[in-house]
């Protein structure tokens, strides 16, 4: 039986610690380079190393596949993930709460910010068509959506938030090279702080490389990653409204 205090990788026997890795080195393939590759794996803490494949990639590059074992183990009970723990609600429950309890129409401004041109993720959440078999927020009667599309400068997002008196901003970031997504998100957060709008706004980001941890780091309230469905986002919004009302 696996003990949750001592979890190890599994290959074909409990606690064998089996791991496979592959990587390249910027040196040509040689007996020396193969040993170097094994030592790289050794420095990662792998033992019983087997270099099972090595290939020269040309122009002084080489590629390695290595199997090894780790004796390291993980205590599951020591792991705490900053999740946004909220009760999930469906379309009907969300509308019901907004219409009867909160008595509110939620105004949402959504955009993919900066130079990023990817819209599919944002549209999955916002547009009527929706995602994962669910309809998008445009279909929710208590939501009013302003989808600004892609390549929108932060200043324009800010302007729209002010103009529409938005309750929620949904920002998508897909391109992450050189941390451009973090820069963009922090910049918007700064702008909102500057205008003293941050407090009253529910600020949410999303994208394939976004999670709550990233979101909190850049001063957002929540972050949603791959596979997010519209109702998950709507649930967060409603719960946050309830929480803020109580506070």
């Amino acid at each position: 039986m696996t003990s949750i205090e001592e979890v190890r990788p599994y290959g074909d026997r409990l606690n064998d610690g089996a791991i496979q890795i592959s990587f390249s080195l910027p040196i040509p393939l040689s007996a020396q380079s193969k040993e170097a590759a094994k030592q790289v794996a050794g420095k990662l803490g792998l033992e019983h190393l087997r270099l099972i494949y090595a290939q020269d990639l040309g122009n002084s590059f080489s590629f390695y596949i290595i199997y090894g074992r780790t004796s390291g183990s993980i205590n599951l009970s020591s792991i705490h993930i900053p999740t946004v723990d909220i009760p999930q609600m469906d379309f009907w429950q969300i509308n019901d709460l907004l219409a009867h309890e909160l008595k509110k129409t939620v105004t949402v401004v959504g955009a993919t910010m900066g130079a990023d041109a990817h819209t599919v993720g944002l549209d999955a959440i916002l547009s009527a068509k929706g995602f994962g078999g669910e309809s998008g927020l445009e279909r929710y009667p208590q939501f009013k959506i302003y989808n600004l599309g892609a390549q929108v400068p932060a200043e324009e997002v800010l302007r729209e938030i002010i103009e529409q008196k938005a309750d929620v901003a949904l920002i998508s970031q897909v391109v992450t090279q050189r941390q451009s997504h973090l820069q963009n998100l922090s910049y918007l957060e700064d702008l909102l702080e500057g205008e003293e709008l941050r407090q009253d706004l529910i600020l949410i980001c999303g994208g394939p490389y976004i999670d709550t941890e990233v979101a909190l780091e850049v001063g957002f309230d929540a972050g949603f990653g791959p596979g997010t469905t519209p109702s998950q986002v709507a649930s967060f919004v409603v719960n946050e409204l309830l929480r803020r009302r109580r506070a």
Binding site: L57, G58, F61, F63, V120, D123, Q151, V175, Q177, R178
Partner: protein, 520 residues
């Protein structure tokens, strides 16, 4: 292998596409753009920038400020050549550094201006024809020639890393190297200058970067004995200008598609159609291959239901390119299937669609694009899908295969990703090379029905577009459900009607003929 489709129906589609392209052409024929004008200055050798601003941009701003843009850049360049002792390069520098205002030079008679511009154009044409001939010779002289060409991308953001990876890829078997441009370069209304090391999701297209990559690829061509083709992208606000730089620096292929800019970058349609036309004229003249962007049309809509829009756009793109003087073998139409792998028979549909495009455009070196949108972070399954894609490509006899990467869902390729992809493609290039001669589709089976369905939808879509015109079709969201207006989008302010003084002798067929002869 062959699909039984009616050649009359295909001809009808072509005829309608021609009418659509012709109408666009008529509307833009008396117009030019600031990007076209800058490309002319570049072709004549104006290269340089001051404080990051290219001289050609300052030149255009000058004539724009004096409200004489309609005369075109070459009229004012010609006048300056007549009025001063400066060379084109010196004029560029004087203008760029703010010491010379070309509109304030002493006015000379039109015929003197024409003569001076004709002379420098002749010299430029001759020089470029010669460069192209040398390049052709170099390619033909190399011992190994393979088909299909295997196309991979590099996108580190740093030209030096790009070069290191490009050379490795060539040694691993790649025949075509594309340097992806930095995110949103297509929205810049100038071409950055110099060698660059700081791009996002790609590396800036600059003349200096082109030159470095060209030298590296020629070097590795000699080493491997195979010609390594260089590709870059010119769609965007600087379409014509980047095409000119690619020609000057010896590139072989250019990704060139106005529709991509209109739909996915919100570029103004009139602007980018004019830029596209002139860029295609130049690329055709100097025998580069263009590759178009139809693969993008099904990245955001249902790729099974709306596949016909790919074929529709291919028909139109072919005619637009022909209007610009290109030959079919220079027009690499973009193709992709992007089918949801959970769809039953998705492999068969992919095969049928690939065969259809091969059959309808037999002379086009179709740019055959891999699956991307259903590629997740599961690099192992991605490799499975890519291998099936490679099989389809070889089976249907494609000529340029853009290889999918196992890490498509994660990042731009690492050095080992390209190796794994090339290994799979080279395996199929050998293992499946005779399939198409041995196997055929069943008559009146599912394949035939699918092909016919696509063709019927394409035919009716073309007929609708023929009636309303391409501009209105774009306005109604007929392409990928994205609506664009004729005067909306970026770059419209850079479009202008040309005056009676306007000159562009690069279009003068007599001059072109003479230059070509001398270069031989």
């Amino acid at each position: 292998m062959k699909l039984a489709i009616s050649s009359e129906q295909v001809q009808h589609c072509r005829a309608m596409a021609l009418a659509i392209a012709h109408e666009v052409q008529m509307e833009i024929s008396r117009m030019s753009t600031i990007s076209v004008e800058r490309s002319l200055l570049r072709l004549l050798g104006m290269e340089g920038a001051t404080a990051g601003i290219p001289w050609v941009n300052v030149f255009l701003e000058q004539i724009q400020e004096h409200n004489v843009l309609e005369d075109g850049a070459l009229y004012w360049l010609g006048n300056t050549l007549c009025a001063t002792d400066l060379s084109i390069s010196q004029i560029g520098q004087e203008v760029g550094e703010g010491r010379l205002d070309v509109v304030k030079t002493v006015r000379h008679p039109l015929k003197d201006i024409q003569a001076s511009i004709a002379a420098v154009t002749m010299e430029s044409l001759r020089r470029i024809f010669l460069l192209r001939a040398q390049r052709r010779q170099f390619r033909n002289g190399l011992p190994i020639h393979v088909s299909p060409l295997l196309y991979v991308i590099v996108a580190s953001g740093n030209i030096h890393d790009d070069i290191a990876q490009a050379k490795a890829a060539a040694e691993q078997g790649a025949d075509v190297i594309a340097v992806i441009r930095s995110t949103a370069q297509s929205l810049l209304d100038f071409v950055p200058e110099g060698v660059t090391t700081e791009g996002f999701g790609g590396t800036y297209a600059t003349q200096a970067n082109y030159r470095l990559m060209r030298a590296a690829l020629d070097e590795v061509s000699r080493k491997t004995g195979r010609y390594i083709h260089q590709v870059n992208y010119c769609s965007g606000l600087c379409m014509a200008e980047i095409a000119a730089l690619a020609i000057l620096e010896g590139l072989d292929l250019m990704v060139n598609d106005a529709l991509y800019g209109i739909l996915f970058r919100d570029l103004n349609m009139v602007r980018t159609m004019i830029d596209q036309h002139f860029s295609r004229y130049l690329l055709g003249l100097f025998d580069l291959i263009i590759v178009t962007g139809e693969d993008n049309l099904i990245k955001t809509v249902d790729a099974f239901q709306e596949y016909y829009i790919v074929l529709t756009s291919q028909f139109i793109n072919e005619q637009l390119a022909k209007q610009a003087g290109m030959e079919e073998k220079q027009i690499g139409l973009g193709h992709a299937a992007e089918l949801d792998p959970s769809l039953p028979d998705s492999f068969l549909w992919e095969l049928v669609q690939a065969q259809l495009v091969r059959q309808i455009f037999p002379h086009s070196p179709v740019k055959f694009m891999p699956p991307t949108r259903y590629i997740s972070g599961n690099i192992f399954f991605a490799h499975v899908l890519d291998t099936l894609f490679n099989l389809v490509a070889i089976w249907t006899g494609q000529e340029i295969i853009l290889l999918g990467m196992p890490t498509e869902g994660i990042h731009t390729p690492y050095v080992q990703d390209r190796y794994l992809s090339l290994e799979s493609a080279m395996h199929l290039r050998s293992a499946a090379c005779s399939l198409r001669k041995e196997l055929n589709f069943r008559q009146n089976g599912k394949s035939k029905a699918r092909a016919q369905g696509i063709l019927d939808q394409t035919e009716s879509t073309l007929s609708e577009i023929e009636q309303i015109g391409l501009w209105t079709a774009l306005n109604r969201g007929m392409f990928s459900q994205i609506k664009r207006s004729r005067k909306g989008g970026r770059g419209y302010e850079g479009v202008f009607p040309i005056s009676q003084f306007y000159l562009n002798p690069f279009l003068d067929q007599e001059l072109v003929k003479r230059a070509r002869k001398i270069a031989r």
